[in-house]
């Protein structure tokens, strides 16, 4: 069921991107076909205890931040210094690294949006930002000092709650920009980034807010990385730049990365009336669950229902499908076949930005939504980097009796999967993201007509 409501424009964006100085640098590197994935010294330092050593990570120095370590608790970043003085010390004292990126991204997005202080601080302005993980960097040290070293609780200081709580990113941004509307976080694993933007879109569409700062973040954290490493789902055996290879026949896992994507959303007529630069107009958002009781395995039927809900009655199809495309063996195959099942075998292209910067977990959907906005702006399709060889054989699941999807091998869809960026007319991009627990999210964004 699709409900009518107000139109929603995207008027600003910002964030934190691996191996990039800012969003312009990010855009240039992406369209130049570069990989932002590097060998991670912090992972390498653990030798044989860790499988994967590549990541799209961001260091404190690269963000012009410096950690101040506590003299009381071992290995505990007590607070951070912002060397460019973008964020007041009082706000930094309540923030973990992801919350700081969120604040920086929000300031950039608001500046690009051109909102006045009055608009930003309005009762009709909300903040909806989420993260996939908790404040792991903060919690690990705090817990270690109490449980293992036997220190008093106060030795880790009084900010372990605000720096580690589930909605810390939204709370820190709200305290910085002083909005008076909704402040919440949506959590849906690797669909978190798009899920937060989707919820923010609905708040505006249904008249509950006029403006929302929305997005997803995943702060650099080896604590987060090792959980996935233990699952044996991370890419290994390739050079860093070739590690993320969605759809390629030799893919063997995703690259665990970190980042932050923040967008400024505004009710369309208001944005238009004040002459805002409209980066995109959100046509629709839909999310659902697989309903098959499986925490991890992707669902062809769930994704087909996702598309049906997204396209609704008007059925407007996109020029580019920005896929989740993680570089895992089963995930990519099911996703490609579900896209083909709905969209057909031609007339559009598939873009897999994770091929260039890896999987940013809770930030993925938001940063990849920004890549969709960049594709609309540049009128260029971002590639499926490293998709050099596609499987000429049918996937195992395609040979089972209950398979109801396309019965051609992945190689048959070479024309949909560009290996480098190219120019074409792009009026509409669909973004897809999925998460553990069988959650699926989809959003379509168009150029302002």
């Amino acid at each position: 069921m699709q409900l009518s409501g107000r139109k929603v424009a995207v008027v600003g964006m910002g964030g934190a991107f691996p191996d990039c100085t800012d969003i312009s640098d990010f855009s240039e590197k992406l369209f130049a076909g570069k990989s932002l994935i590097r060998e991670w010294d912090k992972a390498v330092a653990h030798g044989k205890n860790i499988r994967s050593v590549v990541s799209g990570f961001i260091t404190e120095t690269e963000m012009n931040l410096e950690a101040i370590y506590s003299t009381l608790a071992e290995d505990y970043p007590e607070t951070y210094i912002d060397k460019l003085e973008r964020i007041p010390d009082a706000n930094l004292s309540t923030a973990d690294i992801g919350s700081i990126w969120s604040m920086l991204g929000s300031l950039d997005a608001i500046k690009m949006a051109g909102w006045t202080d009055g608009e930003t601080q309005s009762e009709n302005t909300g903040v909806i930002i989420g993260s996939g993980g908790a404040g792991h960097v903060i919690l690990r040290s705090a817990w270690h000092n109490f449980f293992e070293l036997g220190k008093k609780t106060r030795m880790a200081g009084s900010h372990t709650v605000d720096r580690a709580m589930v909605y810390r990113d939204a709370a820190n941004v709200s305290c910085l920009i002083k909005n008076k509307g909704v402040c919440e976080s949506i959590g849906s694993a690797c669909a978190t980034g798009l899920g937060n933007i989707g919820y923010a879109y609905r708040l505006i569409k249904f008249g509950l807010q006029d403006r929302v700062i929305a997005g997803g973040v995943e702060g650099t954290s080896l604590e987060t990385f090792i959980g996935f490493d233990a699952m044996q789902v991370l890419s290994r055996g390739f050079s860093p730049q070739e590690s993320s290879r969605p759809f390629d026949a030799s893919r063997n896992g995703f690259v665990c990365s970190f980042g932050c994507g923040i967008v400024a959303l505004e009710e369309y007529e208001m944005a238009k009336a004040r002459g805002a630069n409209i980066l995109g107009v959100i046509d629709s958002y839909f999310n659902n669950s697989d309903g098959d009781g499986d925490m991890f395995y992707p669902s062809f039927a769930g994704q087909k229902r996702l598309w049906k809900g997204l396209l609704g009655d008007d059925g407007l199809k996109p020029d580019v499908v920005k896929v989740h495309g993680t570089s895992t063996p089963v995930g990519d195959a099911i996703e490609l076949l579900s896209v083909v099942d709905v969209m057909g075998e031609s007339g559009y292209h598939i873009s897999a930005p994770k091929s260039q910067f890896g999987h940013m977990l809770g930030a993925a959907g938001a940063v990849e939504f920004i890549t969709a906005l960049l594709m609309l702006k540049e009128q260029k399709v971002l590639p499926c980097l490293n998709s050099a060889k596609l499987n000429p054989e049918l996937e195992g699941f395609q040979k089972t009796a209950n398979w109801a999807g396309p019965i051609k091998p992945i190689e048959a869809y070479r024309n949909l999967l560009p290996q480098q960026s190219f120019t074409k007319e792009i009026n509409r991009v669909t973004c897809l993201n999925y998460g553990f627990g069988g959650t699926n999210s989809a959003m379509t964004v168009s150029k302002d007509a």
Partner: protein, 86 residues
Amino acid sequence: MERQEIIDGLVEILKTVRTIDQEKLKNVTEETDFIADLNTPSTEMINIAAKAEQKFGVEFEDDDIDDLGSKVKDIVDLIIRTKERE
């Protein structure tokens, strides 16, 4: 340990608390109020107490921290009292 020596030590701690205006640390006396005069966020008070424990080699009782006033002389008194108790 002299009271002024303790005050000097406390000022050294306060210099590491980035949310305190460093300019205000030039004239700290026993009567200086952490919250009213230095605008110290109340959440930082426990951090200052914990760093004072480390710097002066004492361990405060939880009740003493609960009852701690917000003036410099209050924490100087507590440090001396705790040292005597130990």
